[in-house]
Symmetry: C5
């Protein structure tokens, strides 16, 4: 059991929030050492223990023992390259999800969030603080909020809902990027566009790979685990499920758009080549006959009558002009210019 | 809970239609303020409350409370970017559908229609009046019509049927557009065609994305909710289901056609390039040898016997002519001209 | 309820065939007016009423009322653009199928056949007489035939079997067309081939769109409706089902062939361009140096010693010959000629 | 009921093998006429009647009546273009399979084998003797062999096993052909390769079309018909099933290879065109400026001071040399040579 | 029954490890001859018999008889080209898996591992020692390890886990290779890249073909065979299953990357051709008119006034310069340089 990331024990920060349905039943505590944590006993009906930074393996092991987490669960929490999944263990539900964000160069980054939902408690494990769940913390302070009333399972729904919102943001940004590149290509395709297209394609692929299992996670939670979720919360999970389906469809539509970007790029480039070829052919077809005429009258034969005509030179120039005009007219007729 | 669209409270218009199976059991009322609505009590067996414009959140909230709609339902009604779906809630069925239309530049536009089907009532929520359901209003006035006899569930069927008819119109128009572009490309491919192809492809993609969930909605209604639909109405829903399947197949066929448009475009362009290359090669192959001959007899060597022949010039011109004729004959033989 | 086709009431022709298992139990009657039909009462165990031409809506309505057909069934009969389907109604089975044929220009045409199978009777509705079912009529006259023994359900099987035979004919013809175009392309690809490929592709697409639901129809009949079909007839339906599967596979194979036709076309065209480019490059590479040499000795410098050599001209001509031979040899070595 | 193949009644040859588990319980008889067959009564527990050549319809009909075969079965036996399938009839199992072989020009040929498995007997119908099952005949003579012990169902397994072995042979040969063509293309792509690629693709397509239903046949036999197969034989059928799966995967892999052959072909050809274009551009870019210089000093102006310089000619030749060297250097730098 | 590989009887090496949950309950023995093996009787609760090298058919047959293995199992063990599978036999589970590794030239090699899991024993059959399972042997020596406690089924899990780890290594290496080739192509595409792309594609295809059935094997073991696996071990199998799913997804992503490599290659090559064509067209368009001018003033007409102007030559040179500058300016404007 080893944490796969930067190892700074002091970075692990445990935040415990206790709450109940009653007015004022809200407490927030932060632990930085194991000892602090061991002495604490929660008073309220429900509590949410959030751990930022996974470097402090001692602390994590203690949490694991205290909540009776299976070794495989502990391993998955520390190995932060997991794909989203949900697993039922005796007494708790274990959820792996990913928080996505768009990095420089249209790269898709993501962090793992591990969630344990037990009877009356929720544990969350994050690599680093992202601020995504701050609004949940705020609404927990409000005694009238749904979370305060519905408890741990609704809290898990809220976490997933925020997480899915992040996906919406990324999909939107990628959509804007695609339109930008589309306009850029229309203005004149350069090989760099091909790179950008590949980057966007890759980002959408990773997005899709994150979304499909997320959808499955929500689907399984909504349908198969009536133990952990109230009927009321299940309606909300169905809503999250709808959102993931919508996200998947948007992603597929964007993938299709990126595919058509590439088609456009290639069609424009092929068109440009066509125009160049056309110009080359026209220039060659016009100048080669003219050069031949000049070459012929540049020959040194003793007996070339035309050379001695008074207006020979001007007649040839005129003939050249007519020939050139004729060829240009021909190309104009065929709409090459 | 916020409405995602232009916010004009005064635009919300509520139309209430009451009806029963008996002759004359038909009343139509319009409310523009909340107060009017609160005082009204329906008298007939069935009523249909239609709301145009979703800016008046107060009114909508009142309607939500009055008909006991779930907060998630209210949210979906106001968030007008939902994909089609059907959801069962205690006491009512909630349906989201989309009314499509074709905009300028082959863009596919759509508006959301939210439908609530309860015992003896139907609520519909639209962004703006589209006139699509006017014929239903008319047939409601006719006491012999099926709607008057079969009530609320048949009314919902009628709404969906009209909505699916709109899809047929759009599919037909897109089919005509594709044929037009096809003829255009055959007359001479230009890069703009590529744009049009991409636009058509996009429109068909959006159409497909609207049709698939619509099919699912009708399928679920027809099969899984015997509570809300009479056996007789279910036969009609099966008919709507068949129509959506037919629409999906037509859309797939059109997508295939658009794909072959692109193939044709590229093949024609490649063919044109081929013809240009052929011309360039032929012109070069004919004129380069001739120019060389002219160049040779333009050299200034002291001792070039041919130059002093009496008919040297004419012999060379003749030779050039024969050479040219030979090359042209060769290209004719290979069918290059 | 409106018929979607050319409206000629007088064209509707009703043919009634009664038959039973006994020797001589076969009667055939034709009605052209409604009155004739109303007075007729069938005597035999089973009868088959066939209607050609759907313009006489009065007659059709009468038939609908007489056999208690649902309004949706009547609508589907008249709307002749339906996709194949089978539907169970109280007391009868309703089947829509399509008779395909290949038109000019590899276009696939089709007509709708609506079949109603009740207890002891079969109704068929066709747009126009096609002669496809004549052989069934003949075999009905034979008291030893299976149809006479097995009755209405076997008659429906026979109709479907004939219909599927028509598909076999079309698939075969398309296969021959593809081979023809293949040979043609090998002889020299021209843009018209691309058109033919697209036409064939389209025909196969429509064929596939007709075959898939036909397979489903037979599958449903064979598996889910034991009420309407004897165990013995079900064996025959299984046979029809096998045929539709075989047809679908043949169609898929032909689609693959058409796809490879296109690949061949493009590869041949690209090859031709390659050959032209090769010729152009070779001609240019051979003649440009020669022309340069000629150009150099055409310069007018006062002091050019070579010009005054006795054999200068012949030496230069020889050098040109050697250079040309060398270049030609080089291209021969690289297998360009 | 008509046989679809060359019709030579005298070619039909019936071979009957009787066997039992006991030592010496093996008899082999050949019939050439119907009469011979009618008088024969099998003595052993199990017998296998094999018919080569399907021209003798009289004999086949007799066999059909004797073993009570359904008319549809008889039809399928004679119509030798069936796809593999298995069908349960009262008292016997009917199997259609295909024996494949590779013909000239990478064409895939196949013959139909119809197998009827009844209680204690196996009937096989082949178009012509292929020798594929000779080894089974041999092992039947061995009293220790599994077939002698396990009887009719194991015999059917043995037949299928041999048949699947033939597929392995064909897959192997096609794999070798693909590698050969691959090497050939690497040595220099010519349009004939495209033909060979299409032929291989077609052969693999037909192979796949034969393998999929064969897999289904074995799957159905293994899983759904416990009546006809002992538990022990079912283990062997599972083995055949594994082999068909392996064959399908190998075929898919080969299809992928053929697809990449085509990619390689096109990439190599495009690369060759690139090299030609490069050469053309380089030659043109080097010689055009030189020719221009020669052309300038070939002009006939009265006043051209350079022409009268003592070393003008040599200076110009030198300048030309330097220009040419510079351009060649430039192209070398850009790695064009 | 024949072994399909290099036949060296003396290479077969049997290693027997006995272990139990108690401290010190660990014994390791090696047999090189059949006699040694026959005399040995295991003392501990569980034992693991591993055979390296399959040339000693005598020994294998003895093992087969001793553990009552089915002839088909023996055949599969010796035929080392099997695809991964799991089969239930009376009293034991038979598993075929493959150990992959990456060879020279991005070729994927693999060896077959056959595993038999019985009550209290595990048999493994490998072609040659690979050292992959050494760490398992080590952890078996540790009495605190899970294997010692959970026994035979956990041992099989450990074997599969190691095997799947090997896949991770290969996927990682292929990912690095792809990035390398990607950078290489960006630096300048050459036809060899196409070869490398095809090799990588092939390797990924084989990887996928190995992974899919492996996933199925683990899935079947985890879900359908509660007899052979403790509930605790099944949790671990679920973990292996997750890993195979992750591997399949990574492989699919890499396949997509390789596909986009090919797109990049073709786009870059087409771009390069475009640049060459551009250069050719520009050079031709600039020099042809200049050469024509030089040709015209090289003509030998008696009456060409310009030739006698004092500054004619310099005026023409100037005009040429201006013409050239104008054309260059034109091309610069169109961004060709």
């Amino acid at each position: 059991m080893r944490y796969v990331g930067p190892d700074n024990p002091e970075d692990t920060l445990a935040t415990l929030i206790e709450f109940g349905p009653d007015e004022g039943a809200f407490f927030e505590t932060r632990f930085t050492s194991l000892e602090e944590g061991k002495q604490y006993t929660p008073q309220q009906k429900t509590f949410w223990l959030n751990l930022h930074g996974l470097g402090n393996v001692e602390l994590l092991k203690y949490v694991g023992r205290r909540f009776n987490l299976h070794p495989l669960v502990m391993e998955d929490i520390l190995n932060t390259e997991q794909r989203p999944k949900v697993e039922v263990y005796a007494g708790y539900l274990f959820i792996i999800a990913r928080l996505v964000h768009l990095e420089e160069g249209d790269q898709l980054g993501s962090e793992q969030i591990a969630i344990v939902l037990g009877r009356g408690f929720v544990l969350t494990f994050q690599e680093k603080p992202t601020g995504t769940f701050n609004s949940i913390r705020e609404s927990l302070k409000n005694a009238q909020s749904q979370i305060r009333k519905l408890g741990a399972d609704y809290l898990v729904y809220s976490l997933l809902d925020k997480l899915v919102d992040r996906y919406f943001g990324v999909v939107e940004k990628l959509g804007e990027r695609i339109e930008l590149v589309d306009d850029d290509i229309a203005a004149g395709p350069v090989p760099e566009h091909m790179n950008e297209i590949q980057n966007l394609r890759r980002a959408l692929l990773y997005l899709k790979r994150g979304l499909w299992p997320t959808r499955e996670v929500v689907n399984v939670m909504q349908r198969d685990d009536p133990d952990f979720f109230h009927a009321e919360t299940q309606l909300y999970l169905r809503d999250v499920y709808d959102h993931t389906v919508q996200l998947i469809e948007s992603t597929e539509a964007l993938r299709d758009l990126v595919g058509s970007l590439q088609d456009t790029y290639l069609a424009l480039q092929s068109n440009r080549m066509n125009l160049q070829m056309r110009m080359l052919t026209a220039v060659t077809t016009i100048f080669m006959p003219l050069s031949l005429v000049a070459g012929i009258y540049g020959m040194n034969f003793d007996n070339m009558p035309e050379l001695h005509w008074q207006d020979g030179y001007f007649l040839v120039l005129g003939a050249m002009g007519i020939l050139a005009a004729g060829l240009i007219g021909y190309f104009k007729l065929r709409r090459w210019f």
